[in-house]
Assembly symmetry: C2
Homo-oligomer: 194 residues x 2
DNA sequence: GGGTTTTATTCAACACGGTTGAATAATGCG
DNA sequence: CGCATTATTCAACCGTGTTGAATAAAACCC
C-alpha cells in the first residue's frame, strides 16, 4: 500500500485484475457515489493514480468491472423455449432466479447508477423486447412484447432497484402468483383498438 | 454574486425563497449530483455558504425545495372514484397526466436520486397500494393491489425514470392500450392458489 | 547483450465540491 | 439608545477525481 518503490514492479503482478476485483466488491457494497477511487486503490494496495491510468476514469473502472450484472443471456434462452402457456411463469422465474441469487438483499439498492441503468435499459429495449416479440409472433406481437417489458421492468424496479417492501418481501413463488395474471395479460391479451 | 457588502443586507429580501427557487430549477434540470451548491448560489446571487446556513446541507436544500414532485394526491383521488371497470384507465391516465406534464421529456432522467427514489417508494407502498386495496375490496385485495403497484411502477420506471425508447415513445392513449390489459388483470384477476 | 523504447508504477500537485468559523452589518426588542 | 439576533460575505479546510513528471522494470531490436 504505502511507500512502495517508484517505477515498474518486479515480475508481472496483474494489478489491473486486483483493482477490478476490489472495485467490484466496493461498488457492490457501497454503490457508485459511496465508493471513492482512493478507497479502491487502498483495497487493491495501489496508488490512486493507477486506476486512472488503467481504466481512464472512475466511470470507466465501473463500466469495466461490472459487466454482466443484469444480463445473463442463457437464462433468457431457457425462458424463451417451450409452450406459450408457461411463458409468463418462466420469465418471472428467470428474473427472480437471476437477481435474487446475484445480489444479496441488503445491497440491492447499491446497483443503481448511470451505467447500470443504461445497460438495463438497452437490455430491456434492445434484447428482451425483441426476443419476446419474435417468440410470440402473430398480430400486435411488438405491442404485447412492449407491455410485457413494462411489467417485467416494473418487477425489477419495485423489487430490486428501488425495493418497496410489499414486493421485496414476496417469495419467488409469490412473485409468480402475484405478477402472473398481469404478465399473462400483457403477453397474450390483444390490445384493444379504440 | 459580485462584491456585495458584508453583513446583513438592507430591507428583508427573501433570499431563502430565491435560493429554493434556483435550486428547484437546477435540480430539475441537472439532477442531484449534477447540481453544485456553488451553482445554486450563483444562480440565486448569493454566497455558497448561505445555503449551508439556511438549509443545513445540500441534502437539506434538496429535500426542502422538492417536496411534491411525484406525489399529487388530488390526481389519485380522482382516479379512485367511479366504477371498477374504468379504474385501470383512470390510473394510467393519472400517471401520464402527472409525469408527462410535470417533467419535460429531455430532463426526465434527471429526477433519479436517493431522495426522489425514497419518496417514490414510500408513495407506491404506503399510499397508492393501500388506497387501491381499499377501493378494490374483496378477497385478495391486497395482493391484487400489490400487483397493480408493480405494473404502475413498471410504467413509471420504463417511461420516466429510466426511459426505454419503445415505451417512452407511446402517446398517453397508447399507454392505455398497451398497459391496459396487464393492469386490468393485475387489478381484477384472482391470483391463483397453487 | 547492450541500447532504446514501452509499460507500470509512485509522488506531488491541481481544480473542484461541500462545509465551517470568523468578521460584519442590518434588524428587532427592551 | 444599547444589545442580542439574524443574515450575509470571506477565507480557509478537507476530501474528491484527475494529471504530469519522475522512475524503474520489462520488452524489443540489431
Amino acid at each position: 500500500m504505502l511507500n512502495k518503490t517508484r517505477g515498474r514492479p518486479r515480475g508481472n503482478p496483474d494489478t489491473r485484475a486486483r483493482i477490478a476485483a476490489a472495485a467490484r466488491d466496493l461498488f457492490h457494497a457501497h454503490g457508485y457515489p459511496g465508493t471513492t477511487v482512493r478507497a479502491v486503490a487502498a483495497a487493491a494496495g495501489v496508488d490512486p493514480a493507477l486506476i486512472s491510468y488503467h481504466f481512464g476514469s472512475k466511470q470507466g473502472l465501473f463500466s469495466q468491472s461490472l459487466n454482466l450484472l443484469c444480463v445473463d443471456p442463457t437464462a433468457l434462452d431457457q425462458a424463451l423455449r417451450g409452450d406459450q402457456a408457461g411463458l409468463a411463469d418462466r420469465l418471472l422465474d428467470s428474473v427472480t432466479g437471476l437477481w435474487d441469487a446475484g445480489v444479496p438483499a441488503e445491497n440491492r439498492m447499491a446497483v443503481r447508477d448511470d451505467e447500470t441503468m443504461r445497460a438495463l435499459r438497452d437490455y430491456l429495449d434492445g434484447e428482451l423486447r425483441l426476443r419476446i416479440a419474435e417468440f410470440l409472433g402473430g398480430p400486435d406481437a411488438t405491442e404485447r412484447a412492449t407491455a410485457a417489458v413494462g411489467v417485467l421492468g416494473g418487477l425489477i424496479f419495485t423489487r430490486y432497484l428501488n425495493p418497496i417492501r410489499s414486493i421485496d418481501a414476496l417469495s419467488p413463488a409469490d412473485v409468480r402468483r402475484v405478477f402472473g395474471p398481469a404478465l399473462r395479460a400483457a403477453l397474450h391479451a390483444r390490445p384493444r383498438r379504440p
